[in-house]
Amino acid sequence: MGGRYGGEHGDTYTESQVILTAVKIIAPFTLTYGMFMTLHGADTPGGSFQGGAIIGVTVLMLAFAFGIEPTRQWLKNSVIVSMVGGGVAIFIGVGLATIALGGSFLEYRLFFTVLGIPDGTKWGMEAIEVGGIALIVAGVVITLFFATAAGFTPARYRSTPEVETADDEVLSDD
């Protein structure tokens, strides 16, 4: 079966000094630019979709340089899942909070009129942008990458049932 189905059957990663060095230099800039774009999307072109995508792409870049398997272990599954799930939860939370304050879904100005937060509209939008969309997009980009990289292991190539149960134990640890 070789290295054809999934990383567990053989990693074809080859280390390259050039790519490693270049990524070490470029990745901080990419991450910074992604975060700048996310946080600064209110007043200049750009926003959370772009920023989230660039943050996600940074992780892809690291994965190419250091190998996908090590990156996946470094960035734990729970981190990615909480990014995506947390983003959706924040989005729903802000929306329901405005309903609880007596308005309609995402009626931000209630943060000012009811709670008295100055610039409540802007803070509400920033919460959605940074806490919601950027996290979701970054998390989903990483998820799709890792899922596609892991590929599909057909049942006939899956090893004996012991490995299956071992997998399950690892899962329950997470």
């Binding site: 772009q50 983003g87 509209t121 802007k122 899922a147 596609t148």
Partner: protein, 179 residues
């Protein structure tokens, strides 16, 4: 506008044709990356910075990588012919489609950038957003304002769709985690 726009249109068409005609999938993916580059300049030229940025990050970066990963996971048929042979019935159907659109629909459209076009001149759509954005939300980028405030519910649905797509990918690959 005009000179750059027309040459860019030629570039985009050439890139798209090359993508369609390459027999080798890897070459098609590489050329599709070039097509995406041209498309992003075109979006920038048409005053859509947010769209161009997203296309740059997603079209050129993520799509190419996902396609490459897929052919690494499956197979890349080797071939000695450079281009595909032309499928005449498909060409006929597509040609009819394009000719009908070009002769029947194109003359009915407003000119590109015409400020009389309804999307721009209608006072209840674009003008309202542009006039009220800063007053209502306190942000300067009208796209962000529409995205997060005026059409927030829409964006919420979209976010959930993306979330669901991530789950669907894991389900199709029968994986509970990514490893």
């Amino acid at each position: 506008m005009s000179l750059v726009g027309y040459t860019l249109a030629i570039f985009v068409i050439v890139a798209a044709l090359a993508t369609a005609m390459f027999r080798d999938v890897l070459s098609a993916i590489i050329v599709f990356g070039a097509y995406s580059l041209g498309m992003a300049i075109l979006y920038t030229l048409l005053l859509a910075p947010d769209v161009a940025m997203t296309e740059a990050a997603i079209g050129a970066g993520v799509t190419t990588i996902l396609l490459l990963l897929t052919i690494a996971k499956t197979t890349r048929p080797t071939t000695d012919r450079l281009f595909e042979s032309i499928d005449v019935p498909a060409l006929f159907v597509v040609g009819a489609f394009v000719v009908v659109l070009g002769t029947q629909v194109l003359p009915e459209m407003y000119a590109v950038g015409d400020s009389e076009a309804p999307v721009w001149s209608n006072p209840e759509v674009t003008q309202a957003y542009l006039e009220q954005t800063y007053e209502d939300t306190g942000v300067q980028n009208a796209v962000t304002a529409v995205l997060a405030a005026y059409r927030g519910f829409d964006t919420f649905g979209e976010a959930v769709v993306v979330f669901a797509a991530g789950i669907a990918t894991l389900l199709v690959l029968k994986r509970e985690v990514f490893a």
